[in-house]
Subunit: 212 residues, 2 copies
């Protein structure tokens, strides 16, 4: 399948939403859907949907619409879900535990291989059969078990140190929940979930209704 290069970040950010809606449609035994119907469900215009999906190849047929299963498969592939990912979580506080407990991720190809913390009270705790290990064992663990994704759920003061340990030991992608921008080599992908920034976006929009 031919894909255009230089896909914008905005399109990439919309793909997981397509993925979510298409899974829902498939679960409800919907075989095919037009860009108009899909747009109404997702809240995008039909033309935006056609434009987005065209970036990745020639989906959909005039007058027929999209084959839901086929489109879902294609988008799953683009999202990297044809592979499996081994994931560790560093920081077993509330956020770390929330992620460890979220079984939906495993359905999507992300397998939790380890959880680490510095707090003696949390070490030994079992979260869905995965035991929280002392952070002192992190490097040895990474040397033994190749890990694709490291989830950082520690405080902002410790996040960079943890990121460095991950990167030095083969982690390729970092999902960062600490409120700090990490410095990593260019080839490492970082996806941030900055909760405070999300909350401030909410208050910003609540405060001035002239914004979009």
């Amino acid at each position: 399948m031919e894909r255009k290069k230089n896909i914008s970040m905005a399109v990439i950010k919309r793909l997981p939403k397509y993925h979510r809606y298409l899974r829902e449609l498939l679960k409800n035994d919907v075989d095919r859907i037009s860009s108009k119907e899909l747009g109404e469900k997702i809240g995008f215009t039909a033309s935006q949907i056609r434009q987005d999906l065209n970036c990745f190849g020639d989906f959909g047929q005039q007058g027929y619409g999209y084959n839901v299963k086929e489109l879902l498969n294609e988008i799953s592939g683009i999202l990297g879900l044809s592979k499996e990912y081994k994931m560790i979580i560093v920081g077993a506080g509330n956020i770390g535990q929330a992620i460890a407990n979220y079984t939906n991720f495993e359905k999507l190809a992300f397998n939790l291989a380890g959880i680490f913390d510095i707090n003696p009270k949390l070490i030994g705790l079992k979260i869905r059969d995965v035991e929280v290990i002392d952070i002192d064992g992190l490097v040895a663990f990474l040397k033994e078990t190749p890990i694709d994704i490291g989830v950082i759920c520690v405080s902002k003061n410790n996040a960079q140190t943890v990121a460095d340990m991950m990167v030095t030991n083969g982690v390729k992608g970092i999902w960062n929940f600490a409120p700090v921008d990490l410095e990593v080599p260019e080839e490492i992908i970082v996806e941030n979930v900055h909760l405070s920034e999300s909350l401030l976006t909410l208050s910003c929009l609540m405060n001035d209704r002239t914004y979009p």
Copy 2:
């Protein structure tokens, strides 16, 4: 101060990041900063910074740069932080507890007024002096205590019902952690934190290095 209308969502989404960096600068006693220096810190170009901040009025002086305190004050105002917000959390699982425990929010003007859950094991639990209340008491609570922001940390199947209860009882903004798009009246602001979508963005970028 004169503000342009039709500020793009992209600019709004960048403001909390400016806010975070400016707070850090002020904490480190930095009085003024050029758009170039600020850009290097944040990872934006100087011209993007000037363009972003110009949307909201005429900050900064040629040859002097930005007065950090003044700029922080302005951005705080734009982000709605000159007000205080009363917030409730519905769903006292890991995510709900993480948010309740995150003291940084209160420093920013968001005050936790109540936490609700359906699970008898959680009801009565105290998180930072706020007791988890039975969800059956939510409507009565909202009628008595005007709440600005409702945080939804329940499962996707219950999220819409909770949103409806909130909206009917005066909540103006919803911070939604459930993996579902809520239907609300136009005047209600919803900010979503869709964790699965964030993780899929990560795997997408890890999977094909030709993307941005």
